[in-house]
C-alpha cells in the first residue's frame, strides 16, 4: 500500500475491509451485471434493432417513460408542499405525518400495488367516484402514474425537507424588507435556492419510477400497447424463452435510466454554478 494508492492513516484494517468490499461487490453486483452487458453484446446491433423496432416494445417504452416523467413532475409539486408543511407548518401531529412519509420505502411493492388497486379500482368507493366523473384511474395509464407517484413521493420530500430546514430566514426577511411580496419571495428567493435539492429528488423519483414493477403491475391492467410497462415486457419475453429480447430490453431500460440521470446531473451542476453554491 505504499505506492500513494492511499493517504497515510494510523487506522488499521484498510486491506481487510477493502478486500471484503471489493470481493462482495464484485461477486454480488458487478459480475452479474457484466453478464447482462456480455449477453446483450451477443445480440449485436441487428438484435437490438429487431427487438426495439417491435411496435409493442416501442409502446411499452413510451408508456413507461411518459408515466415516469409525469409522476416525477407531480411528485415535485406534491413533495414541496409536504416538505414545506413538515418544516414550516404548525400542526400537533406533525411528527406522525413525518414518520408516515417513509411508508412507501418500507412497504413491499406488491403490497402497495394491491392496496392502490383496491383503492382506485372502478368498484371501490374512491375509484368508482373518480370513474363516474370521467377520471378512471386503475387499469388505465393514470393507474401507472399513480403507482409511480406513490413510490417516488418520499424521494422529493426527503431531499427538499433538509434543504428547506437549513435555509436561512434572513434572506426571506431581506427580500421582504426590500418590498417583495410573499409570493415574489417564494418564487424568486426560496424556490431557486431549493432547486438543487428539488432536482435531485426529481431525479431519484424518476429513476425509481422507470424501473418500478411491483406496485405498478397490479393497477396497470397490463394491456399490450396501452398499459404494459417495460419491466413487465422483460418478464413476458423471458417466459416465452426470448432471452435475447429480454436482455436487449433490460440494457435499453438501464441505458435510458443512466442517460436521464446523467443529463439531470449535468443540469444540476449548471444550476448550482448559476446560483453560486
Amino acid at each position: 500500500m505504499d505506492f500513494h494508492f492511499k493517504e497515510k492513516s494510523i487506522l488499521p484494517g484498510f486491506g481487510l475491509s477493502l478486500g471484503v468490499t471489493v470481493f462482495s461487490l464484485s461477486l454480488i453486483v458487478l459480475l452479474p451485471l457484466s453478464a447482462l452487458l456480455l449477453r446483450s453484446s451477443q445480440a449485436g446491433v441487428s438484435g437490438f434493432i429487431e427487438t426495439l423496432s417491435q411496435p409493442r416494445v416501442l409502446a411499452a417504452f413510451k408508456v413507461t417513460f411518459s408515466s415516469a416523467l409525469q409522476a416525477a413532475l407531480i411528485n415535485v409539486v406534491l413533495g414541496i408542499v409536504v416538505a414545506w408543511f413538515l418544516v414550516r407548518g404548525r400542526f400537533p401531529l406533525k411528527r406522525l405525518v413525518d414518520a408516515l412519509v417513509d411508508l412507501p420505502f418500507a412497504m413491499p411493492t406488491a403490497v402497495s400495488g394491491i392496496a392502490l388497486t383496491a383503492l382506485f379500482a372502478p368498484n371501490a368507493p374512491l375509484g368508482g367516484f373518480l370513474a363516474q366523473h370521467g377520471f378512471p384511474v386503475a387499469f388505465t395509464p393514470r393507474g401507472i402514474t399513480l403507482a409511480m407517484i406513490f413510490v417516488g413521493l418520499p424521494f422529493v420530500i426527503r431531499n427538499v425537507q433538509p434543504a428547506l430546514a437549513d435555509l436561512s430566514r434572513d434572506l426571506e426577511e431581506a427580500a421582504n424588507s426590500l418590498g417583495a411580496t410573499r409570493f415574489q419571495t417564494l418564487t424568486r428567493v426560496v424556490l431557486p435556492l431549493l432547486l438543487p435539492s428539488i432536482l435531485s429528488g426529481f431525479t431519484l423519483a424518476f429513476s425509481r419510477a422507470l424501473g418500478e414493477y411491483g406496485s405498478v403491475v397490479f393497477i396497470a391492467g397490463n394491456l399490450p400497447f396501452k398499459t404494459e410497462i417495460v419491466s413487465l415486457l422483460i418478464i413476458t419475453k423471458l417466459e416465452s424463452f426470448d432471452v435475447t429480447g429480454a436482455t436487449v430490453l433490460a440494457v435499453s431500460l438501464l441505458t435510458l435510466s443512466f442517460v436521464s440521470l446523467f443529463l439531470i446531473n449535468l443540469l444540476q451542476a449548471r444550476t448550482a454554478k448559476y446560483f453560486g453554491n
Partner: protein
C-alpha cells in the same frame, strides 16, 4: 394589518391551507392505502385472517421468506460495515468510484436484478447446461432467490453508515489506538457503539426490503407453490386467484413489518438527535 408577526411566519390562514393540502396528499396517497390493507384483511373477521396466515402455503411462504432473510441480512450487514469502514475512514484512489458502484443496485430495476441471475444460472445461461447435468438448481430454487435478494439489498447498510461514519471522523479511534488498543478492540469498543443506531436502522431497512422484495424474486423464483413462493409472491398468487381476503391478510403481515420499520426509524432519529 395592525400587529405584524415576524415577517416570515405564515398567517393562521396560510398555515391552515398548507396543513390541509399536506394532510390531503399524505392521507390519500399513503395513509389510505395502509388502511385499505388492514380493512380488507380483517373484513371477514379475525378467524378468517388467522386461517389465511396459517394456511400451509402461507406458512411455507413465511418460512421461506424468513430463511432468505436470515442469510441475506447478516451477509449484507457484514459487507455494509466493511464498505462503510473503507469508504468513510480512508482516503484512497478510486474511492468515489467505489462509492457510486456500491449504490448501483438502487439504479437497477428489480426485474433486471432478477434477469441477470437468469442469464448466468438459467437454462440458457452461462452455467445452465453444467448445472442441469449435475442436478443443481439455482434459478427456480432457493439459491436464486437468495442471490437476487442479496443484489437488491446490497447498498442499504453501507448507505446508512457512510455519511454517519464520515461525519464522526476517526479521532476517537486514533486516540484508542495510541493508548494501546488493538484494531478489533477499537472497532468493538469505539466504532460500534458510535454507529449502533445508524447500523440498526440500516439493518432494519435491509430486512424490510429483503422480506418484501418482489420484482427480482419474481423473475428467479418460478412460483412453485409451497416451494419457491416467498410471502410477497404468495400475496400475488392469492390476489390473481381472486382470494382477496387471504391476499390482504398476508399483505397485512408485511404492512405490519413496514410500520415496525417506521417506528424504529423514528426512535433511532430521536436517539441520534439527543446525542447532539
Amino acid at each position: 394589518m395592525k400587529a405584524e408577526h415576524s415577517i416570515t411566519r405564515s398567517s393562521f390562514v396560510e398555515n391552515a391551507i398548507l396543513t390541509i393540502a399536506a394532510l390531503l396528499i399524505v392521507g390519500t396517497l399513503i395513509l389510505l392505502p395502509l388502511l385499505v390493507i388492514l380493512h380488507a384483511a380483517f373484513q371477514e373477521g379475525f378467524k378468517v385472517w388467522l386461517a389465511s396466515v396459517t394456511d400451509p402455503d402461507a406458512l411455507s411462504a413465511i418460512w421461506l421468506t424468513l430463511g432468505v432473510t436470515a442469510i441475506v441480512v447478516p451477509l449484507n450487514t457484514l459487507f455494509g460495515i466493511a464498505t462503510a469502514w473503507t469508504i468513510a475512514k480512508f482516503r484512497f484512489k478510486g474511492r468515489t468510484l467505489l462509492l457510486s458502484l456500491v449504490d448501483l443496485p438502487f439504479a437497477v430495476s428489480p426485474v433486471i436484478a432478477g434477469l441477470i441471475f437468469v442469464l448466468i444460472f438459467g437454462r440458457q445461461g452461462w452455467f445452465g447446461e453444467e448445472l442441469i447435468e449435475r442436478g443443481i438448481k439455482i434459478i427456480f430454487g432457493f439459491p436464486g432467490i437468495v442471490l437476487a435478494t442479496l443484489f437488491v439489498t446490497f447498498p442499504f447498510v453501507a448507505r446508512e453508515l457512510i455519511p454517519l461514519m464520515t461525519e464522526q471522523g476517526s479521532e476517537e479511534e486514533q486516540a484508542a489506538l495510541s493508548l494501546g488498543a488493538t484494531g478489533w478492540q477499537t472497532f468493538f469498543k469505539i466504532t460500534l457503539p458510535n454507529i449502533k443506531w445508524g447500523l440498526l436502522y440500516g439493518i432494519i431497512l435491509c430486512n424490510a426490503r429483503a422480506m418484501g422484495e418482489f420484482g427480482a424474486v419474481s423473475v428467479v423464483s418460478g412460483h412453485i407453490r409451497g416451494e419457491t413462493t416467498t410471502l410477497p409472491l404468495h400475496v400475488e398468487v392469492l390476489y390473481n386467484e381472486y382470494h382477496f381476503t387471504a391476499a390482504f391478510a398476508c399483505a397485512s403481515l408485511m404492512a405490519g413489518l413496514a410500520l415496525v420499520t417506521l417506528v424504529i426509524k423514528t426512535i433511532v432519529e430521536m436517539r441520534s438527535n439527543e446525542q447532539f
